[in-house]
């Protein structure tokens, strides 16, 4: 058996395969749900209602999608150049640290100045954190998968150190959390009483800009060329090393922005559990979207919906929370499979 690329996937398949994937994931997840003694149909109803059943549920999903769009873009940009940045999680935390450093009272500026400044500084922090791995890859051939992955733990420990030390909120009763963000550094809410904040718009514009960058600019052309065939790019005289460096910086910056968005828009302060693995989920989002920047938005919303729905399901139906994780994992696997079936044809 082997896979053959479809030149033009039939349209019905493009529509039908994700639907089939969701049904497959639900069928598989029904087994552990039933074993846990839950009413399977009620559980799924709850999942659907909680993720997109009401305007409020929808805003919850979009709120959760915000960091996923940014980390998804971070992975998509890097992977297009075959730069395997697995370190979005660490870059996210570093971005958050910088946002807190600037936005929790150190600077007293008006919001129109402070917010862009904090966002830019966070992006810069994420970008600089990517500089080391990229440089090591180019200079010494060190595998960036290893370095970026390990730097995630460095970043997390660094956050721990800051939260126990210089950044610790004296009013926090001993909890390792930072001082709260000042109002001038808080991203405005988009809709009344929901949690959806302006970070979502930042993520959407980032997706549009990255799409423009990749598909329309000279630099994006270089990135796509280097990612598809670095040897041919080098033969033609493209600055391959510079392309990697640039791509690494952009990828890190996007992940840094994700961290800033969470502390400035949602949490209001920094803790060590700011991200439930948004950096890693971003990789899944990017793969689901086949590295397409606009596809990343849709994929992130889908993944966020599953997260939100599964959380709510485990709370209301009373099944253990790891079943929620299981539902998430099965949905993602089924969705990746659907993407594969759409793009390839199975040959005996």
């Amino acid at each position: 058996m082997r896979l053959e690329v479809r030149a033009h996937p039939p349209r019905w398949l493009v529509v039908a395969s994700p639907v089939a994937a969701i049904l497959l994931a639900m069928a598989l997840a029904a087994i552990p749900l039933a074993l846990a003694g839950a009413d399977v149909l009620a559980a799924y109803r709850q999942m659907a209602v909680a993720s997109l059943g009401s305007p409020f549920a929808l805003t919850e999903t979009l709120t959760r999608a915000t960091p996923l769009i940014l980390t998804g873009l971070a992975a998509a940009v890097a992977f297009r150049a075959r730069l395997w940045n697995i370190g979005a999680e660490g870059q996210l935390y570093l971005g958050a640290v910088v946002a807190v450093a600037l936005g929790s009272g150190a600077l007293s500026l008006a919001p129109p100045v402070l917010i862009p400044l904090a966002l830019a500084a966070s992006a810069l922090a994420g970008a600089l954190f990517m500089l080391g791995p990229t440089w090591l890859k180019l200079r010494l051939g060190v595998d960036e998968v290893v370095t970026t992955l390990l730097l995630n733990f460095v970043a997390l420990l660094f956050v721990g150190m800051m939260l126990e030390g210089p950044m610790k909120d004296p009013m926090s009763l001993g909890w390792p959390q930072s001082a709260p963000m000042v109002d001038a550094a808080t991203l405005p809410r988009l809709i009344g009483r929901t949690r959806l904040h302006a970070g979502f718009l930042v993520a959407l514009s980032a997706a549009a800009l990255i799409w423009l960058y990749m598909e329309r600019t000279v630099w994006g052309f270089e990135t796509r060329t280097v990612g598809s065939n670095a040897r041919a790019a080098g033969f033609a005289g493209m600055p391959v090393a510079r392309v990697f460096l640039r791509t690494g910086l952009i990828s890190g910056a996007l992940a840094g922005l994700a961290g800033a968005g969470e502390v400035m828009g949602l949490k209001g302060y920094l803790t060590q559990d700011l991200s439930p693995g948004f950096g890693y989920s971003g990789i899944v989002v990017a793969m689901l979207a086949q590295l397409d920047p606009l596809g990343v938005v849709l994929a992130a919303i889908f993944v966020a919906g599953v997260f939100v729905g599964a959380d709510s399901m485990s709370r209301t139906v009373g099944v253990p929370s790891y079943i929620a994780d299981l539902v998430v994992a099965l949905s993602l696997l089924a969705m990746l499979l659907a993407g594969l079936v759409t793009r390839y044809r199975l040959r005996r």
């Binding site: 030149a7 329309r216 600019t217 000279v218 630099w219 052309f221 796509r224 060329t225 598809s228 065939n229 040897r231 041919a232 790019a233 080098g234 033969f235 033609a236 005289g237 493209m238 040959r347 005996r348």
Partner: protein, 520 residues
């Protein structure tokens, strides 16, 4: 008795294709093709790129399933049985072996590992290996295909890798061997040895299907030739009754005139290399030393040699991928630009790579983007950092028209094109900049007659225009036909140049294998 012996009994049929048809969407790749291969026979299958040879072989080998028709293979008792469609395993079990044009070898494993891969039992593999080693030694001796069994395949030259592929098939005791363009990378002497081997193997009963486009070798080696064109079998000749001209005409559907080199007096000096040395490195293994060479305007200088003798390093030097370690290079009297490919392009040097798929094109990108890989930064194709997509498409249309490239249009992924069409586009990308010096590295490897004639015509036209061309090739006919002067590369050294009119293929062969140092 004597009378009866005089009537030759035809050898039994070992492989029969019956009315094979295969359609890909609009394209009828194979249309009712019949083919018969007998025991001990060497049959040539000829056809241009896109004629349907590869599709037919893929059906035979189980990669595709035919829409209609049947493949029959003789079993060990000689009875013809239908081959289960769509199963390479069944083809292998039925004794069909195939040496592909693009090798299927694992670069990090040794030659021996590659050959025995998939045949080893789990039980007593060491014992099996020793037996394998003995069997291979026999095969190598009788077939004249020497390869270092313990070297990693990644360190071998293209020519050596192909020998590994042939050995791999022979090792599996095939009864039918399919060879796809097997001589494209061999020296004349090696090709001769291969022919001897194939003749010997066929005398022992092996049936061989020989896919090629080099007509003279087909005529020499094969008794029968089947010609495919546009998916149909258009002719089947006994080679004794057919001239190469007739066969070529059947392939292309019209008479092909190979362009001829006109005599033009060489112009001013373009390129001078004196005592140039480049250490071996990542770009091609063997280092080169003591290179002296002068190239004039209106001149083609051919570089002959067995692959792996330093041509790759030499090409990397002239392509700007490596810098000279010692010695002096002057371009039109000025020092050699050392700023890499971009500086060379700016200095008026055009370069086409040896391996067009890995160094020339970006397979996943559309034709239009591939055609500006060297020029996308110019004002013509970008404005304020944004690509001018309209101009990219328009530019691609022009080149596609000027170079007669068969494709869906500028938006098609370039990787889907045939080798000939890819090479035309690569050459177009270089020639449209009107380079004064051109590096043409294996410009026609694996291309069919029509495409070769086209490429040669364009190179000769550039020469007429005043360009100096360095032609690195393993095809001696090509070197003899195009070059004004020829030098031979052997173990990293370059011989003196010889006028192409005063040298024979035999002499070149001797220089290429190091049996003489200088042409007499």
């Amino acid at each position: 008795m004597i009378r009866a012996a005089a009537v030759p009994v035809p050898a039994p049929v070992v492989l029969r294709l019956e009315a094979i048809s295969k359609r890909f969407g609009e394209l009828l790749a194979n249309e009712a093709i019949d083919l018969e291969l007998r025991r001990g026979e060497i049959l040539a299958l000829l056809g241009e790129n896109g004629a349907g040879k590869t599709t037919l072989m893929s059906i035979l080998f189980g990669h595709y399933v035919a829409d209609s028709g049947a493949v029959l293979v003789a079993d060990s008792s000689g009875a013809l049985r239908p081959l289960p469609p769509g199963s390479p395993h069944a083809a292998l079990r039925a004794g069909i072996g195939m040496v592909h044009q693009h090798f299927a070898l694992a670069g990090n494993l040794s030659v021996l590992d590659n050959i025995v891969l998939g045949t080893e039992p789990l039980w007593r593999p060491k014992h099996h290996r020793q037996a394998a080693r003995r069997k291979l030694a026999d095969l190598m001796g009788s077939a004249g295909l020497e390869v270092p069994l313990d070297a990693p395949v990644g360190s071998l030259s293209v020519g050596e890798r192909q020998r590994v592929e042939i050995l791999k098939a022979l090792y599996r005791d095939v009864r039918v061997l399919i060879l796809d363009e097997p001589t494209a990378v061999l020296t004349p002497q090696e090709a001769e040895r291969l022919f001897l081997t194939l003749e010997r193997l066929s005398a022992k009963g092996l049936a061989i299907l020989f896919i090629s486009h080099k007509l003279d070798e087909v005529v020499r080696l094969c008794r029968r030739v089947a010609v495919l064109r546009a998916g149909r079998k258009v002719a089947e000749f006994a080679t004794a009754d057919a001239s190469p001209g007739m066969i070529a005409e059947a392939m292309v559907g019209r008479a092909v005139a190979m362009p001829r080199r006109e005599s033009i007096a060489p112009g001013r000096v373009l390129l001078e290399l004196a005592d140039v040395e480049v250490p071996g490195g990542p770009h091609g293994g063997r280092g080169i030393a003591d290179i002296d060479l002068t190239v004039h305007a209106h001149e083609i200088v051919g570089i002959a040699g067995v692959s792996g003798n330093g041509q790759r390093t030499f090409a990397a030097l002239l392509a700007g991928l490596v810098r000279p370690g010692a010695g002096e290079i002057r371009l039109e009297g000025r020092p050699w630009p050392t700023g890499g490919p971009r500086a060379l392009i700016a200095a008026g040097i055009g370069r086409t790579p040896e391996d067009r798929l890995s160094d020339g094109i970006v397979a996943d990108l559309p034709i239009a983007e591939n055609l500006v890989l060297e020029t996308y930064k110019s004002r013509r194709f970008q404005k304020l950092g944004f690509l001018r997509r309209g101009r990219l498409v328009e530019h691609a249309r022009e080149l596609i028209r000027a170079y007669d490239v068969r494709c869906e249009g500028p938006g098609q992924r370039i990787g889907l094109l045939s080798g000939g069409n890819i090479q035309k586009l690569l050459l177009g990308r270089v020639l449209e900049l009107s380079p004064r010096l051109i590096l043409a590295d294996q410009p026609t490897r694996g291309l069919d007659v029509g495409a070769v004639a086209f490429i040669h015509g364009r190179l000769l036209e550039a020469r007429r225009r005043g360009a100096g061309i360095i032609l690195i090739s393993e095809d001696l006919d090509e070197l003899m036909r195009l070059s004004d002067r020829i030098a031979v590369m052997y173990r990293g050294r370059l011989s003196e140049t010889m006028p192409a009119t005063g040298v024979t293929i035999r002499q070149l062969g001797l220089l290429m294998t190091g049996q003489v140092r200088h042409a007499a």
